[in-house]
């Protein structure tokens, strides 16, 4: 209970820091009306909008009223189209979830089995091949891979659409672009984790019991090797979202990543803040889930376990 309370308090502080940081950085970095309004607009109109959006108030007053509204669930109004920022963001969330979710599944489904195989056949041609491809996939920037895929599959072969969303065909290239570098990373982490586990004395014990290779890998090695992988997975969620911003821009995928790029470009403060809060919340939740899974896999970190040592 105490452990949960500490976790929640810590998450709350994290959220508050993110909100505050984003609020001030966005406002210090320039007047939104410069971006939103045409250059040749007269000062009276400019002042009208500044008053309308509350930008004429002192910064701390703005901050306070923003926080108060936020506590009541009001994320503010988009400067660009007068819509509720929260609705605007939520409308895009399913698309981003679809993209990042697919990419994550692809990367785990490819990366983990390849990493396990590479570790089992360490120093073989298979291992070398997998690792060479992994280095390639890992070091290729997202935007470059995306553009490369568009060149090959959309312009040359004309088999996949280069932008937009709506059909499964639209999903393939963005998800692959985003998933491949993570698949490469997961393959590398899985390999090193498995190599470490395979040399452990308990693997010899399993062999001395007469457990076959399949049983040794699935029931003895993988559960142990997955502990560090789960830890890394928690961190990778953040990178995945970062990657989604770029990938969505390259493929004109209408998710929150692309919304974020346009909103930042036009200083649409309420929308940017809403997205940042959402992302921070996702990260905090991802970390909490990681902790839960971690305890579920590894009895040594399970809450309430231990302390019975003779």
């Amino acid at each position: 209970m105490r452990w949960t309370a500490i976790k929640i308090a810590r998450a709350g502080i994290t959220m508050w820091l993110v909100v505050t940081f984003v609020f001030f950085v966005l406002r210090i970095s320039g007047d939104p009306t410069d971006m939103l309004l045409p250059d040749d607009i007269d000062q009276a109109t400019r002042d009208f909008y500044r008053r309308l959006w509350g930008l004429d108030q002192p910064l701390l007053t703005q901050y306070w009223s923003y926080l108060m509204a936020l506590v009541q669930g009001d994320f503010g109004i988009s400067f660009r189209n007068n819509l509720d920022a929260y609705d605007l963001v939520m409308e895009r969330v399913p698309k981003t979830l679809l993209l990042t979710g697919t990419a994550l599944i692809i990367s785990l489904a490819i990366g983990i089995p390849l990493g396990i195989l590479a570790a089992l056949y360490r120093d073989s041609w298979l291992d070398r091949g997998v690792m060479a491809v992994a280095v390639f996939g890992f070091s290729m920037p997202n935007f470059f891979l995306g553009i490369l895929l568009i060149l090959v599959f959309s312009l040359q072969l004309r088999v996949l659409p280069s932008s937009g969303s709506g059909t499964w065909a639209h999903l393939i290239m963005p998800a692959a672009t985003l998933g491949i570098s993570f698949a490469a990373q997961f393959a590398r982490y899985t390999r090193s984790s498995m190599i470490d586990v395979l040399s452990k004395p308990y693997m010899r014990t399993a062999r001395s019991k007469g457990a076959g290779p399949g049983r040794r890998v699935t029931l003895h090695a993988v559960p142990n090797a997955s502990v560090p992988i789960v830890t890394i997975l928690g961190f990778k969620i953040g990178e995945l979202i970062g990657g989604a911003v770029i990938t969505e821009t390259v493929f004109a995928w209408p998710g929150i990543g692309r919304l974020l790029t346009t909103a930042v470009g036009s200083r649409d403060l309420a929308v940017v803040q809403c997205i940042m809060i959402l992302l921070a919340l996702t990260m905090v939740t991802a970390n909490a889930i990681t902790d839960l899974i971690y305890g579920w896999i590894d009895p040594r970190v399970r809450v309430g376990a231990g302390a019975t040592q003779k």
């Binding site: 010899r204 062999r207 007469g210 457990a211 009895p299 019975t308 040592q309 003779k310």
Partner: protein
């Protein structure tokens, strides 16, 4: 005759280097219900001998010569699968690091039940029950509760008991205890030795007990095999070996044992270290450390005759 090992040699292949032979012609025999102790310093090949017998050599290691005859069957003559089945049914090993030897993410009961199921093919429920019985058999209090716990919740001695319970699952004929008590406190060490002796007598197991501590095995083993640099240098009944050690190395080992009778004296040590297996001296491997070595010793490797391998011992034909 439960196990007969004849002229066993183990070769380890190395990347871009010449292979090494940590075991170079070892012979020994274990009968049901008796204990054979293999004694020697670190790096003498005693563990490699055991791993070869139990089929657990590292990936680059292989049996390069000799025979391992288990319950009348030559393991080398069997295909890999049958050899593994025979080993699984008739032998088990206990190692030094019991805590590391148990899987940290599996409960103690699960790990023992798995051994039961693999060796005798019981159902899940039967195996779980048998695991609890075995934990009780090795002297763990509250076996039912303990079976649900994990290795990190056990002390080193308790984990070694759990390892022994795991080893005796399915009543193997041969138990190999490789430095099984080395990492434990002296009192726990004695308890584990007693437990192994007790199980040997009640289950009629043959036991190979590997240790670097000659004093430890005096009262537990019927026969002692002293190894040096991958070879057997002396093999004798325990009483005979302690009464009249013949090989200079055995003599040196015995004089370096602490004795309760003369506590104040400074213990003699054997000068030098075991030569590395990839740089063995020519002739007798012990010669560079032997006070009696002469020119023959550094030229010819003595063979094991009448239980001892030394140029200085005249064996009656």
């Amino acid at each position: 005759m439960l196990l007969h090992v004849k002229d066993l040699a183990v070769t380890i292949d190395r990347r871009a280097k010449t292979p090494v032979r940590p075991v170079r012609g070892v012979s020994l025999t274990v009968d049901a219900g008796t204990t054979v102790a293999i004694v020697g310093e670190s790096g003498c090949g005693k563990s490699m001998t055991c791993l070869a017998i139990s089929g657990l050599l590292p990936a680059r290691g292989r049996v390069s010569a000799g025979q391992i005859i288990l319950q009348g069957q030559d393991l080398a003559a069997l295909d890999a699968k049958s050899a593994m089945a025979l080993r699984r049914a008739s032998m088990a090993s206990v190692f030094q690091d019991a805590t590391g030897g148990l899987n940290p993410v599996r409960s103690i009961g699960w790990q023992i039940a798995e051994a039961v199921r693999l060796r005798v093919g019981a159902t899940r429920a039967e195996a779980a029950k048998e695991a609890v019985r075995l934990l009780g058999r090795v002297g763990l209090p509250e076996p039912e509760r303990r079976a649900r716990e994990y290795p990190h919740q056990f002390s080193g001695g308790m984990n070694q008991r759990a390892m022994i319970a795991l080893a005796i699952a399915g009543s193997p004929k041969l138990l190999i205890a490789d430095e099984a008590t080395t990492a434990l406190d002296v009192t726990v060490q004695a308890q584990i030795l007693d437990l192994i002796g007790d199980l040997r007598d009640s289950l009629g197991m043959g036991v190979i007990f590997v240790t670097h501590d000659l004093g430890l095995v005096a009262q537990y083993a019927e026969q002692i095999v002293v190894m040096y640099a991958g070879r057997v240098v002396e093999r004798a009944e325990t009483a005979a070996l302690f009464a009249a050690p013949r090989h200079p190395y055995t003599q040196a080992l015995l004089t370096s044992l602490p004795s309760a009778a003369k506590p104040a004296e400074r213990l003699p040590t054997i000068e030098g270290v075991v030569p590395p297996i990839d740089a063995l001296p020519p002739g007798c491997a012990f010669a560079p450390r032997c006070s009696r070595a002469n020119h023959i010793c550094s030229q010819e490797d003595p063979v094991l005759l009448g239980g001892v391998a030394c140029h200085h011992i005249q064996v009656m034909a």
